[in-house]
């Protein structure tokens, strides 16, 4: 019998409504008991974790990461990306299918899951494409991929532009019981846009991406959801208008879910300008904006939006409009980013800064700690129909332990991820993962 105790921590498990000093006993990779229980004498040091001063949470679940393998191993591999995830406190991740080749078939799904089984310290789920090659022309073999273990379908990186095809995808995936996750950006409205269209794009002379490029697709897909009854999941929602649409759809009782990223919850369009024209309220929050003008690490799709959008997203997260905090971890090489803003790849390496970034909102008083944990654990599990997200007795022992007050300065050189592309470089964060446990095994330990 393999036993592990986590003692003296503040256990927060929103799935059970627990937020109290609670000890946790894990036996053979499963939560055996929790409460005011005392460990027996004579445990060896690797059977006892003292979590005094720390928060003990169900393992974080990130439903949106790019592991880049196969095809872009210069950016990230399943081995490096999952280790980065473990360091960020994530015990489960959903890989996006925009690899090379894209994940279109049973064989592609099995390939990704096979590598993950051999090389990943954490649980890896994969998604499959909605359309073959993400070309938006014909449906991928959704049924076979579902059988092979694909948990959802997405053309992430591209929207399914053809509304008829999106309708068919929803009807077909409803039959399979899987969500269809949409990257909401109308390509005609995005055109060659590089950043949020608004106050800052007008001054920087960068072609803008209007909020309407996202909202028009969200509105359309809500209508298609109503038509088909298929589950639409909205990825990386970034605008106040999208929030209103999703909230209304949920009130109506439609099967929609939505995620939001730490960067869209925190960073504004001002970061693209290096803070040049930041408002007093933004400056008050940050003191100093850590980026330089035209910093390509701020380029991301959808783009960093206005202060009003960011405020609306945070308030929506508090108000239960979202189902998940997801990183959209998008690692890139230095070459992909050290270039003209308009030529830079879009994306932010986010796994290792996610907790610290979210804790900024908690420390500012904008978000309750247990709310943050809810949307990193039980809610994403429910949205994507994944196991985990709870420390109920009998559950797999996936646990994240973090120090909510540990201060550190983001230095991408120290990332485990191969993607060093972070706009938070140089930013002081408060809150750091100290241990990650998957199925009772310690897969990351900072102390």
């Amino acid at each position: 019998m393999n036993e592990l105790w986590i003692v003296n921590g503040r256990l927060i498990d929103p799935s059970q409504g627990i937020d109290s000093p609670t000890n946790l006993r894990i036996v053979d990779g499963v939560v055996a008991d929790l409460g005011r229980i005392s460990p027996p004498a004579g445990l060896s040091s690797d059977q006892l974790i003292d979590a005094a001063g720390k928060v003990v949470s169900p393992g974080f679940i990130d439903i949106h990461v790019h592991l880049r393998q196969p095809g872009y191993e210069e950016k990230e591999t399943i081995a490096t990306g999952t280790r980065a995830a473990a360091a960020g406190g994530f015990t489960s991740v959903c890989a996006m299918p925009n690899t090379k080749p894209t994940v279109d078939t049973r064989g592609d799904v099995e390939f990704v899951l096979g590598i993950a089984r051999r090389e990943s310290p954490i649980r890896v789920y994969t998604t499959g494409t909605i359309t073959k090659g993400q070309k938006g022309e014909e449906l991928s073999e959704l049924g076979e991929m579902a059988e092979a273990g694909a948990v959802a379908f997405t053309d992430d990186g591209h929207v399914v532009e053809n509304p008829n095809l999106m309708r068919y995808a929803l009807e077909y995936s409803r039959m399979l019981g899987k969500p269809v996750a949409q990257h909401c950006e109308d390509p005609e409205l995005v055109a060659d846009g590089f950043m949020h269209e608004g106050r800052i794009s007008a001054l920087l002379g960068l072609r803008g991406i209007p909020a309407a490029s996202e909202e028009s697709i969200v509105a359309r897909d809500i209508a298609l959801c109503r038509l088909t009854g298929g589950h639409v999941h909205f990825q990386h929602v970034s605008t106040a208008g999208s929030v209103e649409l999703i909230q209304a759809a949920k009130t109506e009782g439609l099967p929609v879910t939505a995620e939001v990223t730490p960067h869209h919850l925190l960073l504004t369009e001002d970061w693209v300008a290096g803070g040049k024209w930041a408002s007093p309220t933004v400056l008050e929050k940050w003191g100093r904006i850590a980026t330089v003008p035209y910093d390509t690490n701020t380029r991301v799709a959808p783009p960093l939006r206005s202060e009003q959008d960011v405020d609306a997203l945070v308030s929506a997260l508090r108000g239960g409009v979202f189902d998940a905090i997801a990183t959209d971890h998008a690692p890139h090489t230095i070459v992909d980013k050290q270039c003209e803003y308009g030529m830079a790849a879009s994306g932010i390496s986010g796994l290792e800064t996610a907790l610290g970034a979210m804790m900024l909102l908690v420390h500012r008083g904008d978000l309750a700690l247990d709310t943050m944990i809810r949307y990193l654990t039980v809610e994403p599990a429910r949205a994507m129909k994944l196991p985990g997200g709870t420390l109920r007795t009998g559950s797999p022992a996936d646990v994240t332990i973090f120090d909510p007050d540990r201060e550190w300065i983001v230095d991408p050189k120290n990332f485990i991820s191969m993607g060093k592309n972070s706009p938070l470089a140089g930013v002081a964060l408060r809150g750091k993962v100290t241990a990650t446990i998957v199925g009772g095994n310690l897969v990351f330990n900072a102390d």
Binding site: L203, G205, G275, W277, P280
Partner: protein
């Protein structure tokens, strides 16, 4: 101090009622000139006063001085340009610098070399100043992080063309004797115009009241909406209008911008004919402006489209003067950036 533009914004306080073009000159401590947004009025005046001296050199029979002898100025152009490149090269040569010209089509750029590698090569070759034209907004900021000498932005995407903005405001000051309080109209394709973005900063910092005017599809939509909510005001010193006839009323300066033909193909305008009818700067419209008003254009002009030929070449046009002032301004900037003793008060600093 960071200024918030377009939203809550406070104009920098100027002591008393001194017109902005008579404030104290400030020393010039810049390594690069990438943009005019962070120039103070005093810094702009320092450049303009220095240009006055350069203009005096240009009037000499032998218009060459050895001030920058031994310095190398590289012009790195990723876009076609005649007047800006020749202007910079002439300016550098007048000051005795060596010039090296790198064009994207003939260099290893066409072999796929990245901007960063090209800049590292120029850095290794020992460029004292790199004058850079690039089709992507912000590219000079990247250059400024690599080049240890000076980077001068000679136009980047839609973003900025600082030397054009300076020569525009210099031309206005020379002709009108002041900039403060003048009513300036910038007309045409403002959305895609780096010239407009730099002229706006240069003019408003010296106290002009600028109005951008053009079809709504060629103005930044944020400005259009802000103006609609604020009675035409975009930010202090900057207004917006789509009604040219009313906008030119009483104007002191009207600057027409080049209309790129590709805007038509992109569907931003219904037809050239309609644009000409609604937004061409013609003599009837100029007659609504002040009688001594200036007509400006950054060139090259599409005569008969954004500007009528008789206006382009009429008595009020200062288009050629803009070009010759460009050399003086660029000499001034090169001198201030890589010349000796740049912060010793210069002759001509009287006001």
């Amino acid at each position: 101090m960071a200024e918030t533009v377009g939203g809550a914004y406070s104009k920098p306080e100027i002591a008393g009622e001194i017109p902005l073009d008579q404030v104290a000159r400030e020393p010039f401590h810049r390594q690069h000139v990438l943009d005019l947004d962070d120039f103070s009025a005093g810094e702009i005046l320092r450049v303009l006063d220095t240009a006055d001296i350069m203009k005096e050199i240009l009037r000499r029979p032998i218009k060459k001085v050895p001030t920058l002898r031994g310095k190398t100025v590289v012009t790195l152009f990723y876009e076609a340009s005649t007047r800006t490149r020749v202007s910079f090269e002439t300016a550098a040569k007048n000051l005795g610098a060596d010039t090296v010209s790198v064009a994207a089509t003939t260099s290893s750029v066409s072999k796929g070399e990245s901007l960063v590698d090209t800049l590292c090569t120029l850095q290794a070759l020992g460029a004292d100043a790199v004058v850079m034209r690039h089709s992507y907004s912000g590219a000079p900021y990247l250059a400024s992080r690599i080049i240890k000498g000076s980077v001068i932005n000679a136009g980047d995407g839609w973003h900025a063309h600082p030397t054009q903005g300076l020569l525009d405001v210099y031309t206005v000051r020379n002709k009108m004797g002041r900039v403060s309080g003048l009513k300036v109209v910038i007309l045409g394709d403002v959305l895609h115009s780096r010239v407009a973005r730099s002229a706006i900063w240069a003019m408003t910092k010296l106290g002009a009241e600028v109005t951008v005017c053009g079809p709504a599809t060629l103005l930044p939509s944020w400005w259009v909406q802000t103006a609609a909510q604020n009675g035409g005001l975009v930010m202090p010193g900057l207004r917006l209008s789509c009604d040219l006839d009313r906008t030119v009323e009483g104007a002191d300066v009207v600057m027409a911008l080049r209309l790129q033909m590709e805007r038509m193909q992109a569907g931003l305008l219904p037809s050239t004919r309609e644009y000409v009818r609604m937004f061409q700067l013609n003599s009837a419209r100029m007659s609504r402006a002040k009688s001594e008003a200036l007509v400006m254009h950054p060139g090259p002009m599409n005569e008969g489209i954004e500007i009528a030929p008789d206006v382009a070449h009429g008595d009020q046009s200062v288009v050629e003067e803009q070009v010759s002032n460009g050399v003086a301004i660029r000499m001034a900037l090169l001198y201030l950036l890589i010349g000796p003793n740049v912060n010793v008060p210069v002759e001509g600093e009287r006001r």
